[in-house]
C-alpha cells in the first residue's frame, strides 16, 4: 500500500512525538517531577507506530509496562498522558493509573499493563467481541520477549487459534526481559516459531524499519479483518535505555548500547523518505518543531496541574455498589 505525503508525515510525527515525550519523561523523572518509576520506549518507535498506523479507534490494543509509545501511536492525548504520568488531575486516568496503566477506551487503548503477559489473554477477549459482533475490527496484544515466557501468553496464543479470533500478537523483542537477555531466557529458535507452532502465521520483522513493520502488520490485518484467525509478529527492536529510568545497566557493555542506539528508526525513516524525494528535510524539521512545542506544553500543563481531589479516592471502584 503506497503511503501519501500526509501519511508519511503522520508516521514521522507519531514516532518523533514518542521520542520527544520519552526523552522528556527521562528528564522530568530525574528532576523528581514523575513519581514512582517509568519504563521508556526509546528505540522502539517504529514498532508501535508501524503496528498502529492502519488501526482505527475501534480496533483495540493492549500494551505493556513500556506502554507510552503504544499509547501515542494509538492516538492518546499527549497532554492527558503527561498529566497521568505526573499523577495530576486531568490525567487520562484521573491520576489513579500512572505510567503503567494509561488507558483510553475512546482510542481503543485497553491500557498499559504492569503484569508481564497481562495483555495477550485480554486481547483474545477483545478479538472475540469483534468476531461475535462481526465488526471486522481486530485486537492487538503488545508483549515483550519477556512475556513470551509467561503461561498466560501460551494459553492466549492457543485459544486464539482454537476460537479463530482476529487477535494479533505483537512480540517486541528488544533483547531484554528486564535485566536478563532474551538469548538466555527464551528457549527455542524464535518467538515467531513458538507462535507458529500454535497454528498461526508468524513473521520476524525489523523493528527499526517503519515500512517493514507496517507492511507485515498489513498482512496480519488482512487476515484479521477477514475473520480468518490470529497472526503473530516478532518485531526485533533496540532498547536504547535500561529496563527502567535510572537502571545503571552494568549488564550491558557500552559498545552494545551504542550499537543499539545506532540502530535508530528515526534517522532511518528520514533518510528513506528524503532520498526517495517523498518528503523534504524541511517538512520533517517543521514537524519536529511542532512536536517539541506540543510536548513542552504538555509538561508545563502537567507541572501546573493540581493533584487529584481527595474525594476521588473511593470513586470508580465499581459502576454501582
Amino acid at each position: 500500500m503506497q503511503l501519501s505525503r500526509d501519511d508519511l508525515k503522520r508516521a514521522y510525527r507519531s514516532m518523533f512525538t514518542i521520542r520527544t515525550f520519552e526523552e522528556r519523561v527521562v528528564k522530568e523523572f530525574a528532576q523528581g517531577n514523575i513519581p514512582g518509576f517509568a519504563h521508556v520506549y526509546l528505540g522502539q518507535e517504529a514498532s508501535g507506530v508501524g503496528v498502529c498506523f492502519d488501526l482505527s479507534n475501534e480496533d483495540y490494543i493492549g500494551s505493556t509496562h513500556r506502554g507510552h509509545g503504544h499509547c501515542i501511536a494509538k492516538g492518546c492525548d499527549v497532554h492527558g498522558m503527561m498529566l497521568e504520568i505526573m499523577g495530576k488531575q486531568g490525567g487520562l486516568c484521573g491520576g489513579k493509573g500512572g505510567s503503567m496503566h494509561i488507558a483510553d477506551m475512546s482510542k481503543g487503548m485497553l491500557g498499559a499493563n504492569a503484569i508481564v503477559g497481562g495483555s495477550p489473554p485480554i486481547a483474545v477477549g477483545a478479538a472475540l467481541t469483534q468476531k461475535l459482533k462481526k465488526t471486522g475490527k481486530v485486537a492487538v496484544a503488545f508483549s515483550g520477549d519477556g512475556a513470551s515466557n509467561q503461561g498466560t501468553t501460551f494459553e492466549a496464543l492457543n485459544m486464539a487459534v482454537v476460537l479463530k479470533v482476529p487477535a494479533i500478537f505483537i512480540f517486541e523483542n528488544n533483547g531484554y526481559g528486564e535485566h536478563t537477555a532474551a538469548s538466555y531466557a527464551v528457549g527455542g529458535p524464535s518467538i515467531a516459531e513458538r507462535a507458529r507452532s500454535f497454528g498461526m502465521p508468524a513473521e520476524v520483522v525489523d523493528g527499526s524499519d517503519f515500512f517493514a513493520v507496517r507492511e507485515a502488520m498489513g498482512r496480519a490485518l488482512e487476515r484479521g479483518r477477514a475473520d480468518e484467525g490470529p497472526y503473530a509478529l516478532e518485531i526485533v527492536c533496540s532498547r536504547f535505555t535500561g529496563h527502567f529510568v535510572g537502571d545503571p545497566q552494568a549488564y550491558r557493555l557500552p559498545e552494545e548500547v551504542a550499537r543499539a542506539r545506532a540502530n535508530d528508526p528515526l534517522p532511518r525513516f528520514r533518510a528513506g523518505v528524503t532520498e526517495a524525494a517523498l518528503l523534504d528535510h524541511a517538512d520533517l524539521d517543521a514537524i519536529e518543531q511542532e512536536v517539541l512545542a506540543e510536548v513542552e506544553d504538555a509538561v508545563s500543563a502537567g507541572m501546573a496541574a493540581n493533584r487529584p481531589d481527595l474525594s476521588t479516592l473511593e470513586k470508580d471502584v465499581y459502576v454501582r455498589y
Binding site: 499523577g87 508481564v116 538466555y184 552494545e256
Partner: protein, 336 residues
Amino acid sequence: MSKKSYRQAINEALRQEMRRDPNVIVLGEDVAGGHGASGETGGVGGVFGLTGGLYKEFGPTRVLDTPISESAIIGAASGAAVTGMRPVAEIMFVDFVGVCFDQIYNQAAKFRYMFGGKAKTPMVIRTAIGAGFRGGAQHSQTLHPLFTMVPGLKVVMPANPYDAKGLLISAIRDDDPVIFMESKVLYDMEGEVPDEAYRIAFGEANIVREGKDITFVAFGAMVPRALAVANTLAADGISVEVIDPRTTSPLDEDTILESVAKTGRLVVVDESPPRCGLAADIASLVADKGFRSLKAPIGKVTCPHTPVPFAPNLEDEYMPNPRRIEEAARAVLAYS
C-alpha cells in the same frame, strides 16, 4: 552486632543459610541478572538488590535466574522442596502472585495434608509488598490476608532489620511453605543486627512498646507508623502498648489478648482493604476471646475498599497514615 539495613539483614540471612546448607537455593527473575547480556553477569542481585553478591559466591547452580514465568518459578520451587531441596523463590512484587497462585495455594500449601502427612515442602517465597512507593495498582498491594487464610502456609511480615534476619533464617529452616513478605518502604531502615545466624520463632509477637491505656496491633510497615503515633500520644500522657505479631500465620493470640486484658482498648492498624483483612481478623479474635476485657469498641485503621491509587496524595491517604491512626486511637479512648 552492627548497624545494618533491612535489605542487608535479608541478604545476610540468605548468604549464611546458603553457606550452612547446600540444599538452600535461590531462584527468581534477575536474582543474579545479566545472563546472556554483553556486560556483567550476576551484578543485579534482584530488582531491589536483596540477592546482591549471592551469584558471585554461590554460582549458577544455586542462584538461578529464571525467565519471567512465575507459575514455573513457584511450581519448580515446590517440586524441588518436596524432593529434598530448600528453595527460596523470589516473586519480585507480591502483585505478581496472580499468575502463580495455583502453585501456591493448591499445590505447595496442600501437599502435606492431602498426602496424609507423608510429604514436606520446605520452601520460602520472598516477595516485596506495600504501597507508598508510587508503583500504581499492580505494584503496590499488601496481600497478606490472601495468604493468611490458606491452611498450610505460614506468613511472615518482618517490621525491622533484626526481625527480618531472624525470621528469614527461621523461614528457610522451616519444613513448611513460608510466605516472607518484605515491606518495600522498610528496605533502607537501619537497626542493630547480630553478625551471627539466629532464629526468631514463628507465632511469637514482639511487644514493641509497653503501655497501659490502649493496645495497638500493627503489621509490617505499619509497626513503625503505629509506634510513632504511640510516641506522639505519650506526650499527652496516653500510654500505648504496641504489638507486632511478626507472623500472621501462626498468630500469637495470647500476647494480643493479654495486652487487651491490661489496656481494655484496641486499635488494629493494617495496610490492606477492610474486608476479610487482618484488622477484621484480630477484631474478631478479641471479640471472641477477650470480650470481657474491652472498655470500648475496637478501632480499625485500614486502607479503603479500593485498588491502590497512583497519585501521591491519593496514595498517602489510602495508606493508614499517622493522622488516621491517631484519630482512631482518640475515638477509642474517648468512648465511655
